[in-house]
Assembly symmetry: C5
Homo-oligomer: 304 residues x 5
């Protein structure tokens, strides 16, 4: 997630530098031919690019809106993961008895909640196509790690471990039957959030949609200088470049918003969220001091 | 689902080739009459097609949006099918006991989960109006296949089998009463997803809506050359063709998005999703090696 | 619901024939005065109707969108009725025991499920302001029909009968307490769907909204010929008629979409949906041959 | 709720009569100066108000959309109140036994359901800032009325009475524990609907949003005559008035839609809905003759 | 929340005074050069800023819409907090017995409900980054306050205390097992509302989106005077300033709506809502006189 401030210009313009360079050269050549060689019969009325500009603006605005909705949905899903992780913890702690509980329960709780924290990290890393178990040895036992290696979908396998552990809980009589079903429905919600994240990750934004808008935009930019020459002469070059930059940046922004799990600065900050969950859950477990692992150093204008 | 890359131009333009050909010929004749026979009194000011262009852009943008929403809803429904298939499996495995269970339970679980996988394939094939039971003999018993033949709506009949089996589960005492109700509510969600898919499949996008937009677009394209001739001369031909292509492609895209179960490259990839479910569920069942049936060979720019 | 094809032109244009006739005459008179009597000082620049055209397009586009949402919501509600009818049947069949059950249970089930089918027909007919009990004597007993006559809201009274019957089910010990509550919550969802349908039926789309858009459109059409005369002469007549037709048809379409239970070809096809439910539910009941009553003959381009 | 027909022109135009009068005078003076005193150097090109007109149309269209959403949400909430009132009644009637029940149960049911009807009226009146208990002595006992006087939020206090009565139900053994929880969750939904209505009532539509759009519109109307004078002369006066009227009416409509509980003709018809609930619920109670209190006489073009 | 009336102009214009000053000076210099030094060759056709104006209007309209949605979502979340606080209270009061209850229950209820009120204040203050426990000593016991100091996320810790207290309730036999699960699911909803508020607070509105729109707007304003000079001369100065003000104010409004927990006049009025909850809940507890703490004095045109 980009932060509000300190986004360097280099980052912003870097994304469209090749496009801008080409446009600069292209418009430059046209302006040069027009002004210095007086090849003037190819100017067109401004109304022609304007028709295209209107359609394009509309499509781009709707597309930004749809991308924004995907991005916001991703954020809502991860918000739900925060909520359900806390709920799971609160339910476990309150269902298995208050105050001083027996040690096996205490140990079991700690194991379960640490595994829940691990699940959050693991899901985030797996969505970003990184090693889903990296750095989780501090939260999972060796046996669990060994077991998880056999599965392709690690986060799903962790939830499966959760589910099996809940049975033990009932069999030991630590929760009653209603409580087990209530815990199970919290697991179901976590499973839904996992599936929804995967859906956003795996569903390509309609490829033809992106393509048509992209080509309409190129067509618009190609026409633009011919409409501007008569009015602006050499000033056409910065004008076209700036208008093209506006359109290109809006498109790039939409592309970034529509894919929120790509290990990029514009991502949903899943690592930061998982760390927040770790802190909250450990405090609820009444850990004396919560020490979180250090974050990998990143630039200051975004969090991952 | 079209993939991000490698969509061949042939595919993209092939969808509108007849339309483009007609427009090319039509504009060509008009330009020829104008330029070579000097029949000039039928040019019109650009403002006339522009009024239509604005209305059209708006309607097309809204329509794309509605089609996109249908497409995305279809994808959400199939995402829910993934989630609820996993949830059903997790519930079955954890409710019927952890660790070493008796053999009848083990056999029963395997049968049930294989039937759930079969349901996913069956629903996808039935939505695409293909044989709903094709290739499912590896997942269903002969008796079940025989039974299903009597039903028109195969996926609904499979869920009915699920429902009847759950009773046996309770009667055998393998799950308690709350757990049965929890399992039943997972079935209810699957039944909802099935019904929602059928709703999208069976509901024609308002026919008059499509029609009016289509005819407004034809009217706009018919007018366009008359507005361009004065400015562009023979260049009118490629210009009109390209602008018409932009509009036609946006409309085609909307048409594809609005019907996501048509056995076309733009479909919701129900087969791919069902295979993903098969892999996940079999791994949760701890099958040693999960072997999936081979996919029918398709072009590389989409998955079905 | 209009089908994709074969919508006759007569149907489409018939809806606006009086409006088009008036516009034709009106534009004809103006063009005649302009061309033959050379009363020319009342032409106006095209920009004036264009301002109105833009506002109008926007409002019309948003309004179509809201009408579409109402139409789609109506369809979603009837999709939910399909799903919950199936769920109710599955729950009844699986909760009251699998395989060979005692005859009273068998009889009771059949009565209940037939009544559920009757409810679907009854709700559809009541939304269309037709006799809500017409043709339901093949699904309901005489006693039930007699009882229902005392109620204004027949579908609500049928659900009340359902509710009372569920008590008998519990009192006879055919379902347990959890199962009764699960069945009751399915009834609650059916009751919600009924209420939602009635809400759409009974809520007039904001009357002033429709009115203002309608008058803005009339004002726009009245101005249009004055802007076109200078450019088009007598061609103004077909041009204005076609542009007016585009706007009028979009408005008509919105009006049809916003009221989806009017016994018109553009309706939500509640009869067809109820027939589908009847077929599904009877097959789940394992009726040997499902015979549905004949449909009243309608034109081929829509289903009711 | 305004009905579809018979909305008198006086009502429609009455809302903007002062604005229209001022605009008429203002435009008249400008046209007079222009035509008769030939003060002509202050005309401006039409393009200037057009820029503003486009922005304004967009903002107004979005704003209408948001107002419509508020209005529709209010209607959905009251639809849910209808559904949950019916559900509550069905649950009470079926949970406390079918057929001939003992008299205390009968009495208790009648009291409870009459109180539910009273709650609907009371909520509607309280949202409209009228006496929340007015006319409810026919539905509530004296003791209850006395008790309610101590509370500021009457509808909330009625739900509290409901809640306390449900305990008695369980203590008397008339419902079992699951049924009590099911009834309680229906109460929770009613409580949600009440809170949602209050949210819409108490949340001012963003004041700066309304203000900015209003001033942009005034600015647009002030500029408009200067753009029209050259073309229209004295015809500017009706033209500007009509265009201004279109914009002003759309804004007024948005303002009415966004506040749906103001005791105005454009309100959500909460009294009519409450009467519908009274009729339904009393029929379900099998009252021999349902007599509803007379409605206060209102004009014929709306229901309250 | 800004109230409907009495918003002082100083407040409205104060937000953009620096921007307006700069624009005033900038346009003034250009107009001066044009009118008095006759440097005239840098005027441009109005159509150029109009293209940009259209795109900008669209993006701004969509962006306002998204900001409005965030603001409205925040209000919905706090509406849900009101509802669930009331529901929690109703459930506690009715589940733990009606009429005269034993004193320990009475004391326990009072403590729990006071803590719930405290949670509402605490969440609001924590979202505004103020001391989350300030002023809560009148609602929480010293022991609780002491305990909460160890946690970073105070509202989450208060919910944890709620959860642990519910266990005691079950262990003492004051509620049965179903009722405990029902209460727990109310806590889960409160926990969800807390998480959703934090999500809105912590998620930066896509920074590049805001930035691109902002720079496109600056570019548009910079171009504007050149398009107006020819038409307006010195009148360009107020014209440009007013048009720029419209755009800048719309943008500012969007920025305020998108961050609804900033301790500003445009905030969701969380303190006012929490006070309303305090009043309602204390009345349900049948406190004789509910005295609320005094509000800090604020200006009269908003509530916090």
């Amino acid at each position: 997630m980009l932060l509000k401030e300190r986004i360097p210009w280099k980052y912003v313009l870097g994304k469209i530098r090749y496009e801008l360079l080409i446009i600069l050269v292209y418009t430059g050549i046209i302006a040069f031919l027009y002004e210095d060689y007086h090849i003037k019969h190819f100017t067109i009325p401004l109304a022609v690019p304007m028709i295209l500009g209107t359609v394009l603006s509309l499509l781009l605005a709707f597309r930004s809106n749809q991308s924004y909705d995907r991005w916001w949905e991703a954020r809502i899903i991860w918000g739900a993961i925060v909520n359900d992780s806390r709920t799971l913890t609160r339910q476990l702690l309150s269902f298995t008895g208050n105050g001083n509980v027996e040690e096996p329960v205490e140990v079991w709780r700690r194991k379960f909640i640490h595994r829940q924290i691990a699940w959050c990290y693991s899901l985030g890393q797996s969505l970003r196509r990184k090693d889903a178990l990296q750095g989780l040895d501090r939260l999972l036992s060796k046996k669990e790690l060994e077991h998880l290696k056999h599965y392709d979908n690690k986060p799903s396998a962790i939830l499966d471990l959760h589910g099996r552990d809940l049975v033990a809980l009932l069999q030991n009589g630590w929760v009653n039957e209603y409580q087990q079903v209530a815990l199970d429905s919290t697991l179901t919600r976590l499973c839904d959030s996992m599936g929804k994240s995967e859906r956003i990750k795996n569903t390509v934004f309609p490829a033809t949609y992106s393509m048509y808008i992209h080509f309409a935009m190129l067509f618009f930019i190609v026409l633009l200088p011919f409409g501007f020459l008569e009015v602006f002469g050499y000033v056409t070059i910065p004008m076209v470049t700036m208008i093209a930059a506006s359109f290109l940046l809006i498109e790039k922004m939409a592309i970034h918003l529509q894919d929120p799990f790509e290990n990029k600065p514009t991502d949903t900050p899943v690592t930061t969220i998982a760390r927040g969950i770790e802190k909250d859950l450990k405090q609820l477990l009444r850990d004396q001091q919560v020490t979180l692992p250090e974050l990998p150093a990143t630039e200051k204008y975004y969090v991952l």
